[in-house]
């Protein structure tokens, strides 16, 4: 197996270009690549499109600013494709003020749209969102007498994800609920950068227990 370059967080942040669609793993920052996100906030790259479960927590009064929240505050995103912004009042403010385009996507649909991109599917058919604002502007298909929305694949330029453990080839193992969107995003983006808590030698991960196979990973960052 071929070893993947190990870079630092600042080098990882440099790989995100202005205008990129960036997939960020994590669920309310649990399982987000915090080191890379801090470097990307410091670098200040603008005009990004965020694909993420949520905009994490922005609660400066209580000193809780997590995950992508600093980047939201920095106005680094021109668009967010996201299932939940309820714990980050700044993202709600930007949405209501029309400063940032926010596309709310049901969480399960978001997961499938990211997966579809990674799996070379054009999209999936789901009943989620029928009869709601989510349906607006979408194609509808009948299957066996039932109605489904066509939800399109959602690919990205760069995936910033977090793993518990990587081997030097890039095989990944996630931990507990820090797994969430990470393995899906690892399939869906042109460049995949992984912040790993531990980087082990090739052969140290049981091949039956690999969550993301090495070929999907481009760069490793030690957390």
């Amino acid at each position: 197996m071929i070893e993947k370059p190990v870079i630092n967080a600042a080098e990882a942040a440099k790989m995100v270009n202005e205008g990129d669609v960036v997939h960020v793993g994590g669920f309310l920052a649990c399982g987000s690549p915090l080191g890379i996100l801090a470097a990307l906030a410091a670098r200040g790259t603008k005009n990004l499109t965020l694909v993420c479960n949520d905009t994490a927590v922005l609660d400066e009064k209580n000193g809780r600013v997590t995950g992508v929240a600093p980047l939201v505050k920095n106005r680094q995103f021109r668009k967010m494709i996201i299932s939940h912004i309820g714990t980050n009042p700044e993202s709600q403010r930007q949405m209501n003020a029309g400063e940032t385009e926010v596309v709310l996507v049901p969480q399960g649909t978001l997961a499938e749209r990211v997966r579809a991109a990674g799996c070379g599917l054009g999209g999936i058919l789901t009943a989620t969102g029928l009869g709601t604002e989510v349906q607006e502007g979408k194609q509808v298909v009948q299957v066996q007498g039932r109605t489904f929305l066509v939800e399109e694949a959602l690919p990205g330029d760069v995936a910033l994800i977090k793993a518990r453990k990587a081997d030097k080839a890039g095989n990944l193992v996630y931990s507990k609920t820090a797994r969430n969107f990470n393995p899906l995003m690892a399939m869906a983006c042109k460049t995949v950068i992984v912040e790993a808590e531990e980087i082990v030698n090739i052969g140290e991960i049981d091949p039956d227990q690999v969550h993301t196979p090495s070929i999907l990973v481009d760069y490793l960052v030690k957390a």
């Binding site: 299932s83 969480q107 989510v134």
Partner: protein
């Protein structure tokens, strides 16, 4: 004269009695989370959390939190022995695929056609739907948990939701702090009234069509 006193505890107590052993249940953030505290000891339910686990256990002791183990509200939790973790696609595959028997979720409004609104007050509060739309679309039984009256006095049960819908015709059961309702056709059916409230009081204080079931009975927490 009956005076309305909000009781989230009563809502949670009653919902906890809906489950039977083996049921896979997803409890939403907030009020529904309380339900877990009142499941009778002889009933074993299996809790799913949409951020990626089955077999949700109680909160950890202080100091024993694991940064990688939270519920969908980012609160530290534990996993019961025999539980399992998975990614978000699998989690919602389980939810949408009908493998979750019951979902309990909070609402801003619920109407007599089973429509549900809980993710958006346009121009004001827009938390987003998170997993709620999939949970309502996919679960076998959907229970709306809500205090009966708004702070302003109107009822949360409506003829027709005015807020953007989370799902059309998704709700099967509504449990408030005054009674237990089913959604049948295009109206609510009151199955139980929670004393001291009476069916008459409930019908009067609900801004929707409520039919009192012929075998409607009292329930006390």
């Amino acid at each position: 004269m009956i005076e309305y006193v909000e009781s989230k505890e009563n809502i949670a107590r009653r919902i906890a009695r809906i489950f039977k052993t083996g049921d896979v249940v997803n409890l939403g953030i907030g009020l529904p989370t309380l339900v877990a505290n009142y499941v009778p000891p002889e009933v074993t339910v299996i809790l799913q959390s949409e951020n990626g686990l089955i077999g949700l256990g109680p909160a950890p002791e202080k100091g024993r939190e694991d940064k990688d183990l939270t519920n969908a509200g980012a609160m530290p939790v534990t996993l019961l022995t025999g539980g399992a973790y998975f990614d978000s696609a699998m989690s919602f595959g389980i939810i949408r695929g009908g493998h979750v028997d019951c979902t309990v979720l909070g609402v801003l409004e619920v109407d007599q056609e089973g429509n549900l609104a809980n993710y958006k007050i346009p121009g004001k509060m827009v938390p987003g739907m998170g997993g709620a739309m999939d949970l309502v679309a996919g679960s076998r039984v959907v229970v709306a948990a809500t205090t009966h009256l708004e702070k302003t006095g109107g009822s949360k049960l409506k003829r027709r939701c005015s807020l953007p819908l989370t799902a059309e015709h998704g709700v099967d059961i509504v449990v408030t702090d005054v009674g237990y309702f089913e959604v049948k056709g295009s109206h609510f059916v009151l199955r139980e009234y929670f004393e001291p409230y009476t069916p008459e009081w409930i019908v009067e204080h609900t801004d929707a069509d409520v039919q009192v079931s012929p075998d409607c009975k009292p329930w006390r927490a």
